[in-house]
């Protein structure tokens, strides 16, 4: 009990009440898919671990925009999350450390040390031509690939958290024509023959709640409380894309607050419209919610303020594999892939497509319609639009209005 007292004292010094802390444990338990009866256990485990030595972590990066680090700084309860991340003592992060060789020394100390550490990696692994690194050439002639290899092949590297879609599969950086030879962590390591557990946190960006959940699981929820058993628990709970199942086991569409409007055939066809003001479903605007597995509608963003669809935007499927190539055009319902035979893009593959739903018509391809059926969703929409049919926006709108009237809906 003594150690818990100290922990809560420490919390209150940071301006965090016991209630805030339990609230945090509650939301973390929810993200982890644990029942609320587990909250007290979680709280005491965190309190205990905070007293009994920290696990070192290093935050490395490749081809990145710093968005995932930014995202992490927007944690729900900054102070509490700070503590949980203090379970990991961040020994190296370019965002907070000194400059030059002092920073490099701090990093080396961790992976040449004698304590197991966790590596958080942000950004794509850019191999360039023939593995030349293509980026981040250090003054001493080494590059970011050397940095990664030295850290990952250290005996003390317990696990790598690939933070965000770029680290998972190369993200937008690897979108066609993949100018920098970008790839994701798992693929790169397996090619290099380095065997370290990798946890993929998908999404552009990944969210602090997702990171916190994995850290808590790895540090605290192992069968015998050790880091090793914790990482084994995380590894046992990954899907085939190496992501924690509890974070990516449902589509955006499954729990979208606008789902009811989808079922009723109440859609938005244009931004700034009456339908948007009523928060109707943005599926015709190109929303990729039905095929994107992530829990944004539940976890939400920035201390639970909002999320993409709630703000009136569409889901662009940023947590899907090779998301830019597979989901563009973001404003359209389908992909068109071909090659231009003439004009300024002659010989250049036309990836994505160029249709905007306004004025040019929106269509559902058989593939998307079939996907919807396969998910057991949107039967009505599929039937309504039909296989391979192309309807003009105005026709779709008219159809929906009629159908709504028939059902005795609003308006």
């Amino acid at each position: 009990m003594g150690s818990e007292m100290t922990f809560y004292e420490n919390l209150s010094q940071r301006g965090v009440s016991r209630r805030d802390f339990l609230k945090f444990c509650g939301s973390t338990a929810a993200v982890l898919g644990l029942s609320s009866t587990f909250v007290p256990t979680l709280a005491s485990k965190i309190a205990g671990a905070a007293e009994s030595g920290l696990t070192p972590a290093i935050w490395l990066s490749g081809g990145k925009c710093t968005g995932c680090l930014e995202s992490t700084l927007q944690a729900t309860y900054p102070n509490v999350a700070d503590i949980v991340l203090d379970l990991l003592t961040l020994k190296y992060s370019a965002a907070s450390m000194a400059t030059g060789k002092y920073a490099l020394d701090a990093k080396k100390k961790v992976y040449q040390g004698n304590k197991p550490f966790i590596m958080i990696y942000e950004g794509a692994i850019m191999e360039g031509e023939n593995g030349s690194g293509y980026t981040m050439i250090n003054a001493d002639g080494t590059n970011s690939l050397d940095d990664l290899e030295a850290a990952a092949s250290s005996d003390q590297c317990a696990a790598i958290i690939a933070m965000g879609q770029c680290a998972v599969d190369g993200g937008w950086v690897r979108a066609f024509p993949n100018p920098s030879g970008a790839t994701g962590m798992s693929e790169y390591l397996s090619r290099r023959g380095i065997d370290v557990p990798v946890v993929n946190l998908a999404g552009c960006p990944a969210s602090p709640e997702e990171l916190t959940a994995v850290v808590v699981q790895a540090l605290l929820l192992g069968s015998d409380g050790t880091l090793e058993s914790g990482i084994a628990a995380v590894a046992a709970d990954l899907d085939r894309l190496g992501r924690p199942k509890y974070l990516y086991n449902a589509t955006i569409h499954d729990s979208c607050p606008r789902r009811g409007h989808f079922e009723n055939g109440e859609f938005v066809y244009r931004y700034g419209s009456e339908e948007e003001a009523k928060n109707f479903c943005v599926y015709p605007m190109g929303c990729k919610g039905p095929q994107t597995y992530r829990r944004c509608p539940m976890i939400r963003w920035n201390d639970s303020q909002s999320w993409c669809v709630e703000s009136g935007g569409v889901c662009i499927g940023c947590a899907t594999w090779n998301w830019v190539d597979n989901n563009a055009p973001f404003a359209g319902r389908h992909r068109r892939v071909g090659a231009a035979s003439s004009g300024p893009l002659a010989g250049w593959p036309l990836h994505g497509g160029g249709l905007h739903p306004i004025g040019t018509g929106a269509a559902l391809t058989g593939v998307v319609a079939a996907a919807l059926v396969a998910h057991g969703l949107g039967m009505k929409a599929a039937k309504r639009i039909g296989k391979n049919a192309t309807l003009k926006t105005e026709e779709m709108k008219e159809y929906d209005a009629k159908r709504l009237k028939k059902q005795g809906g609003a308006n």
């Binding site: 301006g15 965002a95 450390m97 000194a98 980026t135 552009c204 700034g272 920035n302 009136g312 990836h351």
Partner: protein, 541 residues
């Protein structure tokens, strides 16, 4: 060429990946090179895609200022259609969104990235708590629970683990050698002021998140908000959501006015020597930010304008993208050097070993030039332009803010801002001004909504043609240029603040703004060049 004896690689506590090499002789830097270490390739990835997709993809250029990148991209896409007019409601929403982005970014930069160059957390341990409150009251700085902050610090030190402050002293152990560590700062700074600084550092980490919440309310999430789509905004304001924004805006504004600005003015007198170096190229470019209803760049709240030292610092002219060219002879690119930015095409580099050859190619950054001259972009450029532009409707507001701050320091010449410390000051002054405007924009939006005719999106045709969008990201000027054919992007080019600031040498060997600013910087110890690090971070690179 003298061999560099200072290597800062990597430069940490910045957004991107940067290295600096410099030559110091007799304690002063005589030459410097800025090495941008990251290839992006976003321009190549966009080719062949739908014009409106650029809004989503270009946000991923920068995780700190995605709002501004997406916005500039939508402006470029809209500009392809000469008949398009942005609805007034969307204009105001975009202003609020950008205002929040600036507050977030400036607070994040000043505290999380720059403050530890000026504030010594180890010395804060020696502060007397009662004296700290007295000092805060005397300086008009808002107070916090200073005792708790000190106890937290003490705990870190006791535990032998300085957490986020680890390695902040350039290899010196601040516990074993406190005096040596303190020499990196100005040893005259009282421990109490350092404690106030550490306390604000922690508050700043929370406030940047509160500012980001405003972006999230409007744009769904931060980073990567979804709202400023081509044609207007996806978000449609509701009274309760506007309340949420305003509440947070007031909280952040109070922090800026009562904590950040008074602290800046209290610590500045200890670093006045930094007014004497780091001037840089003394050419300034601002595309202007925050549209008024005319949507002309000269009418923007912070007006678009450029100033060249050779013509005198008071002479403001309107910038045009046609005058922007990019030299690439010192960059790892294969294209023709000196092309107009709107005409150039990014070519994927081949066959280089990408080593830092300071006599030859040494950077992934291109060297953008305005009428052949390197230009500084960023808060200092915007503040100087607005201060000197007497035709601007914001001129009086900016003058008042700048003159007021200078008066506190006993200074009167605004051109003193053209320096390392001045650059930091200009950013903080701009933060306070933008915070005030953002609250006005919320009111403006309420009035617009009350007309009952507020519009937030209008159709446009971006299928064929070209267009430019210029705006200011928090760290400096942004220009996006799009060319389309049959509804596809045939070419996409952007010039970012980092490209301007971190520019390598041009074809004729003229240094970029950061390189030039480093020349003349006094260095006490080439193993611990904190003075140079301050110059670098003053740009928010």
């Amino acid at each position: 060429m003298a061999t560099p004896n200072i290597t800062m690689d990597p430069i940490t506590r910045i957004e991107g990946q940067l290295a600096v090499q410099a030559v110091a002789e007799n304690g002063v830097i005589t030459d410097a090179w800025a090495v941008s270490k990251l290839f992006r390739g976003i321009e190549v990835v966009l080719k062949g895609r739908a014009p409106e997709d650029a809004f989503y993809v270009t946000q991923r250029m920068c995780g700190v200022c995605p709002t501004s990148h997406g916005h500039a991209s939508s402006m470029a896409t809209e500009a392809v259609d000469p008949s398009f007019e942005l609805p007034n409601g969307a204009r105001i929403v975009r202003n609020i969104l950008e205002g929040a982005e600036w507050l977030h970014s400036h607070i994040f930069h000043f505290y999380a990235l720059a403050a530890l160059d000026y504030v010594n957390p180890a010395k804060a341990l020696q502060a007397n708590i009662a004296d700290t409150y007295a000092l805060a009251m005397e300086q008009g700085i808002g107070t916090a629970d200073f005792g708790a902050v000190q106890a937290r610090l003490a705990k870190l030190v006791e535990g032998g683990d300085l957490s986020i402050f680890t390695n902040g002293w350039w290899g010196i152990d601040p516990v074993a050698n406190p005096e040596e560590a303190d020499e990196l700062y100005n040893p005259d700074i009282p421990a109490e002021l350092h404690l106030i600084g550490v306390s604000q550092y922690l508050q700043g980490l929370e406030m940047q998140a509160v500012a980001a919440q405003i972006i999230s309310i409007i744009g769904g999430k931060f980073p990567m908000p979804m709202t400023s789509v081509a044609g207007g905004t996806a978000w449609m304001p509701r009274a309760d959501k506007l309340d949420d924004c305003l509440f947070r805006l007031k909280e952040v504004t109070a922090f800026v006015d009562n904590h950040m600005i008074p602290f800046t003015l209290a610590i500045a007198p200890y670093y006045l020597n930094e007014l004497t170096y780091g001037q840089g190229v003394k050419n300034f470019l601002s595309w202007g930010a925050f549209d008024r209803s005319t949507r002309r760049i000269e009418d923007r709240y912070l007006p678009g304008g450029f100033i060249k030292a050779a013509d005198g610092l008071t002479n403001v002219n309107r910038p045009m993208v046609e005058h922007v060219t990019e030299d690439v002879s010192r960059s790892w690119y294969d294209q023709e050097s000196g092309q107009r930015f709107t005409e150039s095409e990014t070519t994927i580099v081949t066959g280089s070993d990408f080593s830092q050859d300071l006599d030859g190619q040494y950077s992934w950054g291109k060297a953008p030039r305005y009428q052949r001259d390197p230009m500084e972009a960023g808060p200092l450029a915007r503040v100087i332009v607005a201060y000197m532009d007497q035709a601007s409707a914001s001129n009086a507001t900016v003058r008042e803010a700048v003159d007021g701050a200078l008066a506190v320091l006993g200074l009167d010449d605004p051109t003193i801002l053209v320096s390392t410390l001045g650059r930091v000051a200009a950013r903080n002054i701009e933060t306070a001004v933008a915070a005030k405007w953002a609250a006005e924009w919320v009111d403006e939006l309420v009035v617009e909504l009350r007309t009952g005719r507020a519009e937030f999106w209008a159709p446009y045709n971006s299928s064929n043609g070209e267009g430019t969008g210029t705006w200011e990201a928090p760290r400096g000027g942004l220009a996006h240029h799009i060319k389309t054919s049959n509804g596809r992007i045939t070419d996409y080019q952007l010039v970012t603040p980092s490209t301007w600031i971190l520019s390598p040498r041009s074809d004729d060997g003229v240094r970029g703004p950061l390189e030039e600013a480093l020349v003349g910087t006094p260095i006490r110890d080439i193993e611990k060049p904190i003075e140079a690090a301050r110059v670098v971070r003053s740009f928010d690179p």
